[in-house]
């Protein structure tokens, strides 16, 4: 029997949900608001919330000082590239782990996840030296390689979880129907795993888009994505909050819009298998 929900508890729950949502969203909102203030209003004490002279100057300045479009393209190429390559490697890996697990499969999965617990700074120096010697510093391909590798465990894990939900019987039926491994994967497994693959893809684009440690340390000018573009506004000469906010808003806008339109897919993918 469904529990009766009274109007009062409903109201309280709604209030709590809204409060938490606003708390989480507030920093983003504040950044967006600040981007429309002058540098003076941005650091005003007490802070000004909505009633200030709205200006687009910061955006103009930011656009003048740096090439937003180049950084944007770098971000797109790096995040999409690393995600697509990651999926190409992870799909066969997750297939093997989900459908023909060996004795060490669980351990391999745990080991892969454990690499995410390593502080990235611990491998910065060796990786930097390798990149320098191989001429990969400040190149898109170099960043694609690094981001593919650091996100690969998550991609494999997510796909593994989705694949595990697919009954083995169906793949065996395909085998009995004369499907080769390739046709089995293309015609049966992948179409059934579309929600899972789509949410893995979206999540990884977001992760790669927002990744700052490696993108800041391994790029200078040519391959610098939007994260480096934001960082260039927090400089030792002084903080320019309004300009920094304008740059941030421009950097997060594309991914925010993408996330907004794909939220249904993301939620469906992330809760895949939780509810039958």
């Amino acid at each position: 029997m469904a529990r009766a929900v009274t109007t009062k508890t409903k109201a309280i729950n709604t209030a709590i949900a809204w409060t938490i949502a606003i708390l989480i969203f507030f920093p983003i909102l504040w950044t967006i608001l600040t981007s429309f203030k002058t540098e003076g209003t941005a650091i005003a004490d007490p802070p000004v919330f909505l009633f200030f002279d709205w200006t687009l100057d910061n955006y103009a300045t930011v656009q003048e000082r740096s090439n937003y479009f180049r950084h944007f393209m770098n971000s797109v190429v790096i995040s999409v590239g690393s995600t697509v390559i990651g999926l190409i490697i992870a799909i066969p890996a997750a297939w093997a782990m989900a459908f023909v697990p060996g004795r060490q499969t669980k351990n391999v999965l745990m080991w892969m996840l454990s690499t995410k617990m390593l502080p990235p700074v611990g491998v910065l120096v060796p990786l930097y030296l390798i990149f320098r010697d191989w001429g990969l510093l400040d190149t898109r391909i170099g960043l694609i390689i690094v981001l593919t590798l650091i996100n690969l465990p998550i991609i494999v894990w997510m796909l593994y979880t989705y694949f595990r939900e697919i009954p083995n019987d169906i793949l065996e039926a395909a085998r009995m129907d004369g499907a080769t491994l390739r046709s089995e994967v293309i015609y049966v497994l992948l179409p059934m795993a579309v929600p899972g693959i789509a949410s893995t893809l979206l999540l990884n684009i977001i992760l790669a888009w927002n990744e700052a440690f490696w993108t800041l340390n391994l790029t200078a000018a040519n391959a610098a994505p939007l994260t480096a573009f934001i960082a260039s506004y927090s400089s030792p000469e002084g903080l320019f909050y309004a300009k920094l906010s304008a740059a941030s808003t421009m950097a997060i806008a594309p991914i925010l819009i993408m996330g907004w339109f794909s939220q249904k897919q993301l939620v469906r993918g992330l809760t895949f298998g939780a509810v039958k």
Binding site: P167, D169, I170, E172, A173, A174, R175, M176, D177, G178, A179, T180, S183, Y187, V188, P191, M192
Partner: protein
């Protein structure tokens, strides 16, 4: 053609031997049922034949050709799964077409075969639906349709009716039997339900712990079970097994008598009626305090009235008595 030969076929999972070396020949066109309790290895044996599991030893031949190392796709067999295993993202038509697509058949031929199969299985009106929009029986028919379009050397059925309700099960049982009549293709059918085995099979293979206990026609198994296990497994309700003095009187360790071979009335045995089950066509009495076994089940034709607690006399048909030695084997 679909003659399947298993020669010393063996299966181990790690150190556990699920199927000790075993020989079996399935003739072309035969309807063979593998039957046995859960965990007896019947499904594993079917999967070995299908190629979904690798054998640990021995050889499988299909029509005389070695198939042991062939992948499932190359064995020319079709399988119907307990879970139906339909492709949920494809329409019924696409599900049935899938094996033909994999075989690279022409569009015309695909359409002709699928339409024919749909007609045979009463699926014509459902071709554009997805499996999720079908009932259990319809899904099972789609699974069968997917199997028959390929015109395989043999059909493998892995407990195909277990997920259906009782009424539907009887109907589908008949449909599968009729299909076998019509196609005359080898069928191997796995079930734990001995009624399915008895009603459908040309030949029953009774398995226990991976061993073949007996192979024979349904009536052979019913009339001359080779050992106590087969005697107890085949027949419903199960055979009454009696140890002790009464068995000794017949120079056996154990004697067995089926419920239908005991009549109520004048006879040498006596007991108290416990539960009686009235089916209309038959009445089953569970009789206690006979001094023979804890319960003796008796089948009386038609409607027979005896209340719980009534004392009745029982007359076994002595020529229908089965005798078993101390090793559990039948004494001729």
């Amino acid at each position: 053609m679909g003659r399947i030969t298993l020669d010393q076929v063996q299966k181990k999972f790690g150190d556990v031997e699920v199927i000790p070396p075993l020989d079996l020949t399935i003739e072309d066109g035969e309807f063979v049922v593998f039957v046995g309790p859960s965990g007896c290895g019947k499904s594993t044996l079917l999967r070995l034949i299908a190629g979904l599991e690798d054998v640990s030893g021995g050889e499988i031949r299909i029509d005389g050709k070695p198939a042991t190392d062939l992948p499932p796709a190359k064995r020319g067999l079709a399988m119907v799964f307990q879970s139906y295993a339909l492709y949920p993202h494809m329409t019924v038509r696409k599900n049935i077409t899938f094996p033909l697509k994999m075989a690279g058949m022409s569009e015309e031929e695909k359409k002709r075969r699928v339409d024919h199969a749909a007609e045979v299985l009463n699926l014509t009106d459902y071709l554009d639906r997805r499996p999720g929009q079908l009932s259990g029986g319809q899904r099972q028919r789609v699974a069968i349709g997917r199997a028959i379009v390929r015109e395989p050397a043999a059909f493998l059925f892995d407990e195909p009716l277990s997920n259906l309700d009782a009424a539907l099960r009887v109907g589908m049982r008949l449909e599968i039997s009729e299909l076998h009549e019509r196609l005359a293709t080898t069928m191997i059918y796995v079930t734990h339900d001995q009624v399915e085995a008895m009603t459908m099979a040309d030949k029953i293979v009774v398995l226990r712990k991976g061993h073949i206990e007996q192979v024979g026609s349904p009536l052979e198994l019913y009339r001359t079970p080779r050992n106590l296990f087969v005697a107890g497994f085949i027949g419903s309700p199960t055979m009454n097994l009696i140890d002790g003095d009464e068995a000794g009187n017949h120079e056996a360790q154990t004697i067995g008598i089926r419920p239908e071979h005991i009549s109520v009335g004048d006879g040498p045995w006596q007991g108290t009626v416990g539960v009686s089950e009235h089916l209309g066509s038959d009445t089953f009495f569970h009789v206690h305090d006979t001094g023979l076994a804890e319960t003796i089940t008796v089948r009386a034709p038609g409607e027979v009235e005896h209340r719980a607690g009534d004392t009745i006399r029982l007359a076994p048909q002595m020529d229908k008595l089965h005798r078993f030695g101390s090793d559990g084997l039948r004494i001729a």
